[in-house]
């Protein structure tokens, strides 16, 4: 995880700024602190500052929804606040918001529900200063679950919107 010397100063500055933002928003995840204690000393799998890996592991790339709902929970808003801060810090990325539904609905409705969820996330990120021109969104309905089982422990993971930085 060593960062090449020529850019380490800038990255460290970015990381420190990010650290402040993250702590202000939420300090629940231990990775937040561990990953930002210093350049070259990131937590396992935390990713370099500004990397896609960091976004996924440290910021959190997804938010979850209640059944048949596209309302943001307080936990989801907290995650999106962190996402917005990171995305505003690293402006070089384009952003795809994927909207997903669990399998306890019909196919066509869930396509629409996934789109509605993706739009809620887009609107929230824009409200937090992320340039809407950077963002596209796509619905996958219930066609791309990540957790496979027949109870709510999986369905609750599949009702999600994923922020993909690219």
């Amino acid at each position: 995880m060593a960062i090449p010397a020529p850019i380490s100063t800038a990255l460290r500055a970015a990381a420190m700024l990010f650290f402040v933002v993250v702590v202000a928003a939420c300090s629940r995840s231990s990775n937040d602190a561990v990953g930002l204690t210093g350049a070259g000393n990131l937590g396992p799998g935390g990713g370099a500052p500004g990397s896609q890996q960091e976004f996924i592991v440290t910021v959190g790339d997804r938010v979850f929804f209640e059944t048949d709902s596209s309302s943001l929970t307080s936990e989801a808003m907290s995650t999106l606040d962190k996402q917005a801060a990171w995305l505003n810090q690293y402006q070089n990325y384009r952003i795809l918001i994927e909207g997903h539904a669990d399998e306890r609905g019909t196919r066509e409705y869930n396509i629409a529900l996934g789109a509605r969820r993706a739009n809620v996330v887009v609107n929230y990120l824009v409200s937090k200063g992320v340039n809407g021109q950077r963002i596209t969104n796509q619905s996958f309905g219930k066609e791309r679950p990540v957790a496979i089982c027949n109870d709510i422990s999986c369905w609750s993971q599949n009702r999600r919107a994923v922020t993909v930085v690219q």
């Binding site: 306890r104 609905g105 019909t106 409705y109 789109a115 739009n119 066609e143």
Partner: protein, 436 residues
């Protein structure tokens, strides 16, 4: 009735037509009463069809037996148990030996493969000693199975009333691979699962195919452009193109009864509304408005109304509006949610998916929402489509977990649930009309 009489009738003008000779005596009583709690399928004897190729004769008879058995209305008897093993369409059966064997309904068929495939069939009511069906058919040599389906339809129509549904095809989504990253391709097959062919290569996800009334055009949802968009696919040419460029996402397409219009959903900024557009192009018309999810539109068979689902009142429910849009009325009021409404081709019923009590149900109700009946319930069942006679519904059911969906059918009396055999997992069936 004698053989001479039938031959005379043939000469009287039916020689070039589809009908074998019938006589006034053919007004037989043999008929299945399809309604009723004490329904019993009609036992029917179908010896192998006479043919210079006995294997082919047995193959065609097997298609007929299989169709009639799967309908749930007939009980084809074990061919090995019959007093006569091979059909004879030229003579009058010895009714006494059939009555002694307790056979009321007897099918005698023949089939020959030449430049065309020719088949003749007579159905006899052994108690009345009368013919109830007498027909001849020719099909092109590449569609041998079709002749079995056409014969099956003739028998069904005469004995069970209504029209048949065996000479039809089903287009569906063939699913393979792990559930988290499943490949979904369009496939087509005969209604009994034979002659399966893939229509798309799986490079982009394809969902919800729907037949046009002419059976050659298909509309479906294609993820090739990122967000799903409605495409048209012509089966005869393999040509396909995107239907309309409106909104962020277009999906849930279905043809009008005349095939000239597609009604579909358009998503923009999280709101989903229903639009229609001509299959030849032109500007789409917006039929619903608002911030709700309006989807799953389906025309009435006379083209005057559209049934659809909407969550404008909270959970998804079924609504009805004129074909031009506006003034939608809610028609479903049961507990849980209702989606995927599909109007019966006869106009008398709407089939739908209902979710309640932690289960999925395939149900039917009158277009005004009355007379609701749940036909099939399971952990997950979804997406009904109608056989052209309005008596049988196909859908898909999924046991969940790492398993996948399978096609099933059930009749409108809630009887006879059947799994349709497919090589892969299968979902989103769409049943064609009777083939021309």
């Amino acid at each position: 009735m004698t053989l001479v009489t039938r031959r005379s009738a043939l000469k009287l003008g039916l020689a070039g037509g589809a009908l074998l000779a019938t006589s006034p005596m053919a007004m037989a009583q043999l008929r299945i009463v399809v309604e009723g709690a004490n329904f019993q399928p009609l036992p029917i004897a179908i010896p192998d069809f006479a043919s210079s190729d006995p294997t082919f004769g047995r193959e065609i008879a097997d298609i007929v037996r299989n169709n009639l058995r799967r309908s749930g209305l007939f009980l084809p008897l074990d061919p090995a148990s019959l007093p006569v093993q091979v059909g004879d369409v030229n003579g009058t059966p010895n009714f006494n030996i059939w009555r002694t064997a307790n056979v009321d309904a007897l099918v005698m068929g023949s089939v020959e493969r030449g430049g065309q495939i020719s088949s003749s069939v007579r159905v006899w009511d052994t108690r009345q000693a009368a013919q109830v069906v007498g027909k001849s058919y020719n099909t092109d040599p590449n569609s041998a199975r079709r002749v079995g389906h056409i014969v099956s339809d003739a028998i069904y129509e005469q004995l069970a009333g209504g029209s048949g549904y065996f000479d039809t095809r089903v287009i569906y989504v063939a699913e393979s691979g792990p559930k988290a990253n499943r490949t979904r391709r369009l496939a087509i097959m005969d209604q009994d699962g034979a002659n399966m062919q893939y229509l798309t290569d799986g490079s982009s996800m394809a969902l919800t195919p729907r037949f046009a009334p002419n059976g050659d055009l298909v509309t479906y949802m294609n993820f090739a452009d990122g967000n799903p968009q409605v495409y048209l696919l012509q089966l005869s040419s393999g040509q396909q193109q995107r239907l309309a460029n409106v909104g962020a996402m277009t999906f849930a397409p279905r043809f009008s009864p005349d095939g000239g219009t597609v009604v579909f959903s358009v998503e923009q900024s999280g709101a989903t509304n229903i639009y229609s557009v001509g299959t030849g192009g032109g500007a789409p018309s917006q039929l619903t408005s608002g911030s709700a999810i309006d989807t799953g539109p389906s025309f009435s068979p006379d083209g005057s109304r559209i049934v659809f689902e909407s969550d404008r009142g909270g959970s998804p429910q079924i609504y009805m509006m004129g074909a031009g849009g506006g003034n939608a009325q809610r028609v479903s009021f049961g507990q849980g949610s209702y989606s995927t409404p599909v109007w019966s081709p006869k106009g008398d019923l709407i089939a739908y998916t209902r979710q309640s009590g932690g289960q999925f149900h395939i149900g039917i109700m009158a277009p005004d929402g009355s007379g609701e009946r749940l036909l099939y319930s399971s952990f997950h069942a979804e997406g009904p489509t109608w056989a052209p006679n309005g008596r049988v519904i196909m859908f898909f059911q999924d046991p969940g977990g790492n398993d996948g969906p399978r096609l099933m059918s059930v009749d409108i009396w809630g009887r006879n649930p059947q799994t349709i055999s497919t090589d892969t997992y299968a979902s989103d069936p769409s049943w064609s009309g009777l083939r021309a």
